[in-house]
């Protein structure tokens, strides 16, 4: 399952961040998911909930998903347009010579950690 693999990679990254910063717990992680990145946010959340149970560092860690809007650029007319609404053919000039500017990302944006008292 695709989302599970992504979750394992996020967990690995967070474990190295925790090691580097000597963190014992992470409260939340914000992940940016592009609209056309092939990751389904609901599946990602379900996999996350299942996978973190095994990791002490992440047991209380909430997964926050931020969507990145997908935008395509058209080489034919030089304009940008909404990828989800129009796909790969430019709605302005009908050209197929188009490429995705944003929307394919899966990034770990930031984490929050409990303030040491």
């Amino acid at each position: 399952m695709h989302e599970l693999g992504i979750v394992f990679h996020i967990m690995d990254s967070l474990e190295s961040v925790a090691k580097e910063n000597s963190l014992s717990a992470i409260s939340s992680v914000t992940v940016e998911v592009g609209e056309v990145s092939t990751v389904i946010p609901d599946y990602l959340t379900d996999c996350w909930a299942w996978a973190i149970k095994k990791k002490e560092l992440l047991q209380q860690c909430e997964l926050v998903i931020e969507t990145i809007h997908a935008v395509t650029h058209c080489d034919g007319c030089g304009k940008d347009y909404d990828t989800v609404a129009h796909g790969r053919i430019c709605p302005n000039c009908g050209s197929e010579k188009t490429w995705l500017i944003t929307g394919n990302e899966i990034n770990i944006k930031e984490i929050t950690v409990p303030e040491e008292s």
Binding site: M1, H2, L4, G5, I6, H9, I10, D12, S13, S16, V17, N21, S27, S28, V31, T38, R88, E96, K97, N104, E105, I106, N107, I108, K109, E110, I111, T112, V113, P114, E115
Partner: protein
């Protein structure tokens, strides 16, 4: 409310895997081992194509194969019949291999004296394209019955591949497969991609791909 502080990470989820893949590639370069990652849909003829390739190249180089599947060892048995060293990897339900799993596979294969290791990735046009395995190059096999529009539907797959094999050209008369359109669509996503029309069944066109791969392996070992 619990007081928290924020740590900015700003890192692609794939960054960690990309770093591992880069490290693996460096080690393979030192050892003079060429790792080829082969991706495609299920049923495109990966295993048959590999069998043909091994027949053509095994006299001149030492070839080993890693078969990645969710389950079963059907493909590994077919490859083993050619005499090549083979290991079957099970991804345990995961839809792709990453650099860590590829490294484990290579260790299990114990192919120190191999010139060419071929990784037959899980049959899937989506996820394997996103994870760098550490291979020197990736190729895709697209078969005629799948249709010439696949490069449009799965653009990333064709973007990351250095070469695309169009397999099953022997049955082209029975399908509405437009080779020119397919070439155009592949080059739209990746202008550098080499395209090799073949029939793994009859052997037609396999020479040209074998020649490409031979040059690749020779250059890598320099």
């Amino acid at each position: 409310m619990e007081k928290v502080r924020i740590l900015e990470i700003k890192e692609s989820v794939f960054a960690n895997n990309d770093a591992q893949a880069e490290k693996l590639r460096g080690e393979l370069k030192e050892k003079g081992v060429y790792l080829l990652n082969v991706m495609s849909s299920p049923g495109s003829g990966k295993t048959t194509t590999l069998t043909r390739l091994i027949e053509q190249l095994q006299e001149e180089m030492n070839i080993a194969v890693m078969e990645a599947d969710i389950d079963s060892d059907v493909d590994a048995r077919t490859i083993a019949a050619t005499g090549a060293k083979v290991i079957q990897l099970h991804t345990g339900g995961m839809c792709h291999l990453d650099a860590g799993m590829t490294r484990q596979g290579l260790e299990g294969l114990d192919a120190k004296d191999a010139d060419l290791v071929i990784l037959e990735n899980v049959g899937n046009l989506v996820c394997p394209a996103e994870f760098d395995t550490g291979a020197v190059k990736s190729i895709a096999i697209l078969s005629v019955p799948e249709g010439h529009d696949k490069p449009l539907k799965y653009p990333l797959m064709f973007q990351v591949c250095s070469a695309v094999i169009i397999n099953k050209i022997d049955v082209a008369p029975y399908f509405d497969f437009d080779m020119d359109k397919c070439t155009e669509y592949i080059h739209m996503r990746n202008p550098e991609a080499k395209i090799f029309p073949i029939s793994a069944k009859t052997g037609e066109g396999v020479d040209a791909f074998a020649a490409w791969l031979r040059d690749e392996v020779t250059n890598w070992k320099k």
